[in-house]
């Protein structure tokens, strides 16, 4: 049957699997750091931390010490504890909102790119119209009037604002895959649309989706920080990275630590997320060349 004179000859034709780009040590450091943050956010009330709300008039605007690792704020509250508790709000909003964005934006984006036609044209026009409107202004406007503010409302508003972004990324990624021959091949084997979407398209856009998910979380955390800075996020005294930075603004000359540590926490967390997202994209980048 075989046209090869020998199996050995044929075996030569089977190439070694192409090595994909290694993730690198820094990637794992970032994963560790982001993981630590998430761990802290989840278990903040179980961990041996001081209460983030207990005021201590003996130590106001104190610098870092053994008792208060990162110092205290203008009401004598422990900054370390507040940074850890503050991550709860930031991370919850970040993940919660992007989940809403993906829950609605991703299926719509995939469907639009796969079906094309009028459905795609109208939906894309609407999404681009929404994109043209600055998300921050929209969220500020809605959150100013939708009171009393709660974590859930913030998540919903930012989540809805993120739908067009997710839609655009997923639609573009799907468009790229949907025109490939293997999708047509699956179709002429009699695969249903549903099957093509789930088995052919989804696995192939997954790396991009995951990568943008992480970058989306980072973007939303910044947005939440901005809202908190404007006093439009959760109400004090509940700490969030954003409102801590806002509070620090008034006492900047007496207490540099209060501004520094939440900013540092925010910054490092974002760098970690962005780097992980970027490495994942590069690692799973199945280019034609590699094929």
């Amino acid at each position: 049957m075989s046209n090869f004179s020998s199996l050995e000859e044929a075996a030569v034709l089977v190439e070694k699997p192409e090595k994909s780009e290694p993730l690198g040590l820094f990637f794992w450091i970032c994963v560790g750091w982001v993981g630590l943050n998430v761990f802290g956010a989840i278990f903040a009330n179980v961990l041996p931390l001081q209460s983030p709300l207990t005021e201590s008039f003996n130590a106001i605007n104190a610098g870092p010490s053994l008792h208060h690792l990162l110092g205290t704020d203008d009401l004598g509250r422990d900054i370390f504890s507040r940074v850890v508790y503050g991550s709860r709000v930031s991370i919850t909003v970040g993940i919660g909102a992007i989940l809403i964005g993906y829950g609605i934006g991703a299926p719509l984006g995939m469907l639009a790119a796969y079906r094309r036609g009028r459905f795609d044209a109208i939906l894309t026009a609407v999404m681009y119209l929404l994109l043209a409107f600055p998300a921050i202004i929209a969220t500020i406007a809605v959150l100013s009037f939708w009171t009393p503010r709660s974590l859930l409302k913030i998540i919903i508003v930012i989540g809805i604002a993120s739908i067009p972004l997710v839609y655009r990324v997923i639609r573009t990624a799907t468009l790229n895959v949907a025109t490939k021959d293997y999708v047509v091949a699956a179709k002429v084997q009699g695969a249903t649309d549903r099957r093509i979407l789930m088995k052919e398209l989804l696995p192939n856009i997954f790396p991009i989706a995951l990568s943008f998910f992480l970058i989306g979380v980072a973007t939303i955390i910044v947005l939440e920080g901005a809202l908190a800075f404007l006093g439009l996020s959760v109400n004090p005294p509940t700490p969030s990275w954003g409102n801590m930075i806002n509070e620090a603004r008034t006492v900047l000359s007496q207490n540099i630590w209060l501004a520094l540590f939440p900013s540092l926490a925010l910054c490092l967390f974002l760098i970690g997320l962005n780097f992980i997202g970027d490495r994942i994209r590069a690692h799973f980048d199945v280019t034609e060349v590699k094929l």
Binding site: M1, V14, E18, Q189, E288
Partner: protein, 333 residues
């Protein structure tokens, strides 16, 4: 007698609505295909051969495309059928082998699974049977150690191996008609012959018909029983392979044959080319589409389009006002 034919194509026309106007990629194409026959569709780039092969199986793009005429595969009218209806013949009646094996396999799915899919979904096989059958198919298309290869990813296979996998997938549900759209263009020359021989062999073993779409006359020369020559979306000559090669009447066919390199030529002979370029399908003249490039063209050629007319051999017809003489000297690649 048309019940006997596997495929009957009649007046098939595919029109795309583009920004520049309606583009007729395939115009009034009619031909038919017997069971267990290999037909070659030949033409240069943009002659509509790929669109034709896709339209025959109902795979034209959903958007801005109009298809008229009829394409009946084993009694099933493809034109006008819904996706759901066409899905009943895709895979089981007609399957397709693609041009580029680099893009016709899902890069993130093991090849075994890609063959399995069709077997499980279409034929309702269970996991174990499907795997056994998939391994059988891999062996059938000449993949060494199929049990191990079952679990490899496409990226781990060479181009020729991948094209074999693509063929295995196409054969999964034992189709009666295999559409091979330039199946060897993306492959090394040494692998090309292997794949073509494999297709030939499988056609005989599995008693199916094959439509071989190609721009390479060398590919169709020994493997097809009949040839359809296309130019600007129309059939310009059709007949048995022998007639098309030895008794062609259409100057375009001659020009195509002449532009194949010949072993008998002295070295450093300049390859004959067809002057000009394929016409813009958006504004075709009323005359013969080949007229601007044809050295035999007359005023009539530029003004009135010639219809297909029979030549002396049975089944051989051509569309030309000034055909080559019947016993013109044969030019062979």
């Amino acid at each position: 007698m048309s019940d006997d034919k596997l495929l009957v194509v009649k007046d098939l026309t595919t029109t795309f609505a583009t920004a520049g106007g309606d583009l007729t990629a395939v115009a009034n194409v009619s031909f038919d295909l017997e069971r267990n026959e290999t037909l070659g569709i030949v033409g240069e780039s943009g002659s509509g051969k790929t669109v034709l092969s896709r339209t025959i199986m109902g795979l034209q793009p959903r958007l801005n495309t109009t298809v008229t005429g009829s394409s009946i595969i084993d009694g099933f009218e493809v034109v006008g059928a819904s996706e759901d209806e066409k899905r009943t013949i895709w895979g089981t009646e007609v399957a397709m082998v693609f041009q580029d094996p680099m893009t016709s396999l899902n890069p993130v799915m093991r090849i075994g699974k890609q063959i399995d899919e069709a077997l499980r979904v279409r034929l309702g096989m269970n996991r174990k049977d499907a795997k056994a059958r998939a391994i059988e198919l891999l062996e059938l298309v000449g993949i060494p150690s199929p049990v191990e290869r079952y679990n490899t990813y496409p990226g781990q296979l060479s181009g020729g191996m991948r094209q074999r996998v693509v063929i295995a997938i196409a054969l999964a549900c034992s189709p009666k008609l295999l559409m091979a759209d330039e199946p060897t263009t993306g492959l090394d020359v040494t692998i090309q012959a292997q794949i073509l021989n494999l297709l030939d062999e499988l056609k005989e073993r599995l008693k199916m018909s094959v439509i071989l779409v190609t721009h390479d006359l060398g590919v169709v020369a020994t493997r097809t029983s009949r040839i359809v020559v296309m130019y600007a979306g129309r059939i310009v000559e059709t007949g048995t392979t022998r007639d098309v090669f030895y008794h062609h009447r259409m100057p375009y066919t001659r020009a195509l044959l002449e532009s194949s390199p010949k072993v008998s030529n002295k070295s450093h002979t300049r390859l004959v080319t067809i002057p000009g370029r394929p016409p813009n399908l958006l504004n075709l003249s009323d005359g013969c589409s080949f007229a601007p490039r044809c050295k035999f063209a007359t005023d009539q050629c530029h003004l009135v389009r010639p219809e297909l007319q029979p030549s002396i051999e049975p089944g051989h017809s051509f569309a030309c006002w000034n055909p080559l003489p019947i016993n013109s000297e044969a030019v062979l690649p």
